[in-house]
């Protein structure tokens, strides 16, 4: 099968880029896979890509490139097709509209996969009849603005499938949006096994990693760690990442007198080399649409103390087995769970071993397998043909009459287009 991803840009360091690369590499074991990056800012991607995966771009933003598109007057005109309600709207233009629609109108793939709301919308509206249209939600419905939700409500019924990274978010989509005939499924992000030996649980370090952003609540972590230090001054904290909260967090380290115990390390890549230096990981976010760092730390053999924030941590960690779940924002509970793991070497090591075993379910090979069967199933039941899609839509939406009517109308329109097209080619 030929699978084509549509990505905002594939040359940076973000989580969506990394997880798309991981998935593409896994799928490339069995399928013909390409990643189409709307923008290209750099000559080379930051993350490694299997040579079997083709990476190409639609708009070249490299100033030194002979094909530089940034000066094109068409690029100065705002986009009409990329939804305004997607936070990245101002980066898109009449030029990206044209290049993306041209790409989608001629895409050779059996399955096209979008990777953010705006691109899912474009893919839903402008892909030629035939390929399975799949949207990925890397954030969550509950954190989208009302306006964006309205956009998605109009566009997503034209998808064949929507994947979320948590079961909770999949439930939200099923409950809050009418998506008749759209297969909504949670497929978590894949995280590869580390290239280094896992932690042996002896280093007296707590590790945290992520953007230094308000939602990560590193202020809460520092307060909790100050309590840990009162009892265990021999343990220390390393916090990896960069972001706009850095100044504030440095001031807090000073104010709490933690400058011998808590260190802002800056960004690190690959991060697995840093996880394994520690014995316990901490995630104190108020929001984690998935929780990649939790899985990364677990694969490195660290039990994670995480807040039960929406949506990821509770689906990843088995409390008391391979990590600890604590109430969001609760400094005492976070400090208490960290101390529980710090004070009990045997418990810490046992949970660390369980973390390795339990996190194996996120191996990219397994996640790739889930996507692979999903793609195969959707392609087989008629993503490629408007007629097949109509039949399956009706079959699956008996319970949702109103939505069903919408789907029927939509599917009929597509079936007509499909029939026309077949008529032409026949």
């Amino acid at each position: 099968m030929h699978i084509s991803f549509l990505l905002h840009h594939g040359y940076g360091m973000g989580g969506t880029i990394r997880t798309t690369f991981n998935l593409a590499c896994a799928l490339a074991q069995q399928h013909d896979v390409e990643i189409v990056s709307v923008f290209r800012h750099r000559d080379r991607p930051v993350f490694d890509l299997d040579p079997a995966v083709r990476l190409r771009h639609l708009v070249d933003m490299r100033k030194h490139s002979p094909d530089y598109d940034g000066g094109d007057p068409e690029h100065a005109r705002p986009s009409r097709l990329f939804p305004r309600t997607d936070g990245n709207h101002r980066k898109y233009s009449a030029l990206t509209d044209r290049r993306i629609t041209e790409h989608l109108a001629g895409v050779e793939a059996d399955v096209v996969i979008g990777t953010r709301p705006g691109l899912n919308t474009m893919l839903a509206m402008h892909t030629r009849p035939g390929p399975v249209r799949m949207g990925q939600e890397h954030l969550t419905l509950s954190t989208h603005s009302r306006a964006l939700r309205a956009t998605l409500r109009g566009a997503y019924p034209r998808l064949d499938a929507l994947t979320t990274v948590t079961e909770a978010d999949a439930r939200d989509y099923r409950r809050m949006m009418r998506l008749p005939g759209v297969h909504v499924q949670a497929v978590p992000n894949g995280v590869p096994a580390p290239a280094v030996e896992p932690s042996d649980g002896t280093g007296k370090w707590v590790i945290a990693a992520g953007r230094l952003a308000p939602a990560k609540r590193y202020d809460v972590l520092l307060k909790a760690f100050a309590k840990v230090v009162e009892q265990r001054p021999d343990w220390r904290l390393r916090l990896y990442g960069a972001g706009r909260e850095e100044g504030k967090l440095r001031a807090m380290v000073e104010e709490l007198g933690l400058y011998n115990h808590a260190f802002l390390m800056g960004p690190a890549h690959p991060i697995e080399a840093e996880w394994v230096k520690g014995s316990v990981a901490a995630v104190t976010s108020s929001l984690e649409s998935f929780g990649m760092t939790i899985v990364e730390a677990m694969r490195c053999g660290l039990p994670v103390v995480a807040t039960t924030c929406p949506h990821g941590p509770g689906e990843i960690i088995a409390d008391g087995v391979d990590g600890r779940l604590v109430p969001t924002g609760d400094v005492d509970a976070i400090a208490g769970s960290l101390l529980e793991l710090i004070n009990d070497d045997e418990l810490r090591r046992r949970m660390g071993r369980a973390a390795i075993a339990d996190a194996a379910r996120y191996d990219p090979a397994r996640i790739g397998e889930m996507y692979s069967s999903l793609c195969t199933e959707l392609a087989a039941r008629g993503g490629r043909s408007g007629i097949g899609r109509l039949r399956s839509s009706l079959h699956r939406t008996r319970g949702a009459l109103l939505g069903g009517a919408y789907a029927t109308k939509d599917a009929l329109a597509r079936a007509r287009r499909g029939a026309l097209r077949r008529g032409r080619t026949a």
Partner: protein, 309 residues
């Protein structure tokens, strides 16, 4: 070079190529101070003229160390080459840039791969040596692989440092020298180091030995900021040295026994006002400890505003 990399880069729709990527070395450290570098290079393993070259930055004439790259035994594909820098090979202090050399080809700058530097974190050096070698592989600001090296003996390692109550308390460990009852901490103005060879009398502080059942000698010293402020021309940097005994040579206080190359970015300490405890100076000055680019411990005295304000 492959055909794909020489093609002009991407018109829209043209397949993008990650291109010929620079070779990466995975570094592994051992607790004695040795390093090994693993480079995956398919098709090169049969060659016997591959080497890893370390060049000391800003050295004239150029100082370099050539480490042979040999096929890693037990590697099924035979594509992994390993170079070893044993702990017994001394490496001058400084920053060494890492290159890959194959035969007569031009040396290629190496990129860091996935490193395992666990043995460097909280490292306790062996005391049965006559010198201490510390080598930390790291990514430069351009993303290349370099190795930072220190070569010291004796060595005074700074641990927790607490700026408070008008002074600085330094906890540390001394390796390779005996701590005597006459031991003291010395602060010397940085500017004095060159012109008069440091003959200027340093500001001193008493040193208290801490019970040290393990390796090295634990010590604690407290330097009063007011003592620095009273010296003429107190503003500026004061280097900290530990003199283990009256007749012993002073030992630079530094922090090098871990995996962090650029301490000044990560280990930061607050500036505190220098207590105006009478006679001259103190007023309007703040003192802040920091680590230099070589990770030596320094106290900087700075005016906070117009004198007398």
């Amino acid at each position: 070079m492959t055909a794909t990399t020489s093609r002009p880069a991407g018109a829209p729709g043209a397949p993008g190529t990650p291109g010929e990527t620079a070779p990466r070395a995975d570094c592994t450290a051992d607790s004695a101070g040795g390093l090994s570098f693993d480079i995956t290079l398919p098709g090169v393993a049969e060659r016997w003229d591959a080497a890893l070259l370390l060049r000391l930055r800003d050295s004239d004439p150029e100082e370099s160390v050539r480490l042979p790259l040999e096929p890693l035994s037990g590697d099924p594909d035979g594509s992994v080459l390993r170079a070893a820098l044993p702990s017994t090979v001394p490496l001058a202090e400084g920053r060494w840039d890492a290159y890959l050399v194959i035969g007569e080809d031009e040396a290629r700058r190496l990129l860091p791969g996935c490193s395992d530097l666990r043995p460097l974190v909280d490292r306790v050096p062996r005391t049965d040596r006559t010198w201490l070698g510390v080598r930390i592989p790291y990514a430069t600001k351009y993303g290349n692989l370099s190795v930072c090296s220190w070569l010291r003996w004796p060595h005074a390692e700074a641990g927790d440092i607490w700026p408070a109550d008008g002074g600085l308390t330094v906890h540390g460990r001394l390796y390779g020298a005996e701590l005597t009852p006459t031991a003291r901490l010395e602060a010397r103005p940085r500017r004095a180091a060159a012109p008069d060879g440091g003959r200027e009398r340093p500001v001193t502080a008493p040193v208290t030995p801490v019970d040290a059942p393990a390796e090295g000698h634990g010590f604690t010293a407290r330097l009063a900021y007011g003592d620095l402020a009273r010296e003429p021309g107190a503003e500026g940097d004061w280097q900290l040295w530990l003199r283990p005994g009256e007749d012993a040579e002073p030992v630079r206080v530094a922090r090098i026994l871990d995996d962090i190359v650029d301490k000044h970015r990560i280990l930061r300490y607050p500036a505190r006002p220098v207590a105006a405890d009478g006679a001259d100076g103190g007023g309007g000055l703040t003192a802040r400890p920091y680590y230099t680019g070589a990770n030596d411990l320094v106290v900087r005295l700075e005016g906070t505003g117009p004198a007398g304000s």
